[in-house]
């Protein structure tokens, strides 16, 4: 019998390079598992990655369907990341003083290469308000705010308010006519804050003898603007709140929110929740809020 010669296929240079790279000490110290092509490695990639570990290893099929999640929560999160990045870049060029604020914005448009950072930031902010709103609408319509998720729904409501406040504080920073007058109108509403606004209900009750404790120079509007009108103090306060204060709070709440999504049952908890809540609703409706609304018609 003649000898048959076996010819091993030659590995492409890129494959050889990849094999060498993934066996280096640096690579194996960062990634402690092989490529996620086997079940074991698919588990390991989720458990050993700080960014992925909030996810479970496996998930109900409906949980990855756009028709159920609408992707709006994830979109809000990635828009926030995009806004953080572009906001950081904008901070290199922007000075929050009456002298420079407007000219820096004009400079951003006219002189900075690839000067679409402000556009990305502004349209991204509008988009984030829309995606947060639609995310909450989906959560409401699928009844995902029901027990045991009441707390996470409340965290979400606070984050909606913070998102709107981020938009509000960012609106002043270009220091143009639109900015100053929009904030003048908006901040005037703070005058009517219950107890803490000098024109608000209950404010007149807070007094020491004949001396009112809440007046135009120390009420909620004054705290917001750092004065009684929209000026330099307001610009600085809005800048600090927009760039540091509010993003810090919302980032912490996001961590809590994502953690609780997982701990409260993830995407699959809905039916279990219904069973806990009411026998009448047990596994009967995919959109409990819709059911509650329509049950009387």
């Amino acid at each position: 019998m003649a000898d048959t010669k076996t010819i091993e296929p030659k590995e492409a240079a890129l494959v050889r390079f990849w094999n060498w790279l993934t066996e280096t000490q640096a690579w194996t110290s960062i990634f402690r598992h092989g490529r996620p092509t086997s079940d074991r490695n698919r588990v390991l990639v989720m458990l050993s990655n700080v960014f992925l570990h909030l996810h479970p290893v496996r998930i109900r099929k409906s949980g990855v369907k756009l028709r159920y999640t609408w992707c709006m929560g994830g979109l809000s999160f990635f828009l926030f990341l995009s806004l953080t990045l572009t906001g950081l870049l904008l901070m290199f060029y922007y000075r929050p003083t009456l002298e420079y604020a407007y000219t820096d914005i004009v400079g951003l448009r006219e002189h900075v290469p690839l000067g679409i950072m402000r556009e990305m930031h502004r349209w991204g902010a509008h988009a984030m308000v829309i995606t947060v709103w639609l995310h909450m609408f989906r959560v409401f319509m699928t009844g995902s705010y029901m027990p045991p998720r009441e707390f996470n729904w409340s965290v979400g409501v606070v984050m909606l308010v913070l998102t709107l406040l981020l938009s509000f504080t960012g609106y002043l920073l270009p220091w143009d006519q639109l900015a100053i007058w929009a904030i003048t109108v908006g901040s005037n509403m703070a005058r009517a804050t219950p107890f803490l606004g000098h024109e608000g209900p209950g404010a007149s009750l807070l007094r020491l003898g004949d001396v009112p404790l809440i007046h135009a120079q120390d009420d909620a509007r004054f705290a917001l603007l750092g004065g009684t009108f929209v000026g330099e103090g307001a610009l600085l306060r809005f800048y600090v709140l927009h760039c540091v204060g509010l993003p810090l709070v919302i980032a912490v709440l996001m961590a809590v929110h994502f953690w609780r999504v997982r701990k409260d049952g993830g995407f699959r908890g809905r039916f279990r929740n219904l069973e806990v809540r009411s026998e009448r609703l047990e596994g009967q409706r995919a959109m409990p809020a819709f059911y509650l609304l329509t049950s009387h018609f």
């Binding site: 998930i59 990635f78 709103w133 006519q177 039916f271 596994g283 959109m287 329509t294």
Partner: protein, 161 residues
């Protein structure tokens, strides 16, 4: 055009608007079977497009809907209608499944998939592409008016409330 504007001005009266909105919600829930149909959605969005096309002949309407900060609001009108219709449709479809002795569609899809790659590639990637720097809309200029001037109150472009 003047006749259409007159209708909208009349409907915009808060008292009438509130009553009509509550009535519309009642009709939405009462007639949900019909509203959940695809043909209803086609007619609804067709009418909306016709309205915007017709309105664009009016210079003021054109000015308002194309003002940069108003563009997302116009977009939201379409998104809002779509997602309300879609939610109603999902609920109605599941009602039909339950009436036929099947569970909700989400429960039928009870088998599990790996988060990597199904969720990470399927969903997270979509999020990253849409939420990241790839938004084409970014090439529209962000609005910037004249420098702030406390002594010059602009004529309000929106209703004073």
């Amino acid at each position: 055009m003047g006749f259409v504007k007159g209708i909208f001005n009349a409907v915009a009266d808060p008292r009438l608007f509130f009553v009509l909105a509550v009535g519309a919600l009642a009709v939405l829930l009462w007639k949900r079977e019909k509203i959940a149909s695809n043909s209803f959605a086609y007619v609804l969005f067709g009418l909306l497009f016709v309205f915007f096309a017709f309105g664009s002949f009016d210079p003021n309407f054109r000015l308002i809907v194309t003002k940069p900060d108003n563009v997302p609001i116009v977009g939201l009108i379409f998104l809002l209608l779509f997602f309300v219709w879609y939610s109603i449709r999902e609920g109605v479809l599941n009602d039909r499944r339950i009436a036929a002795g099947q569970g909700p569609v989400e429960k039928a899809e009870s088998d599990r998939v790996w988060v990597w790659p199904d969720l990470v590639y399927g969903t997270d990637l979509v999020d990253r592409l849409l939420g990241g720097p790839d938004r084409l809309v970014d090439f529209l200029k962000a609005p910037l008016e004249q420098p702030a001037n406390p002594a010059n109150t602009p004529n309000p472009s929106k209703a004073p409330w």
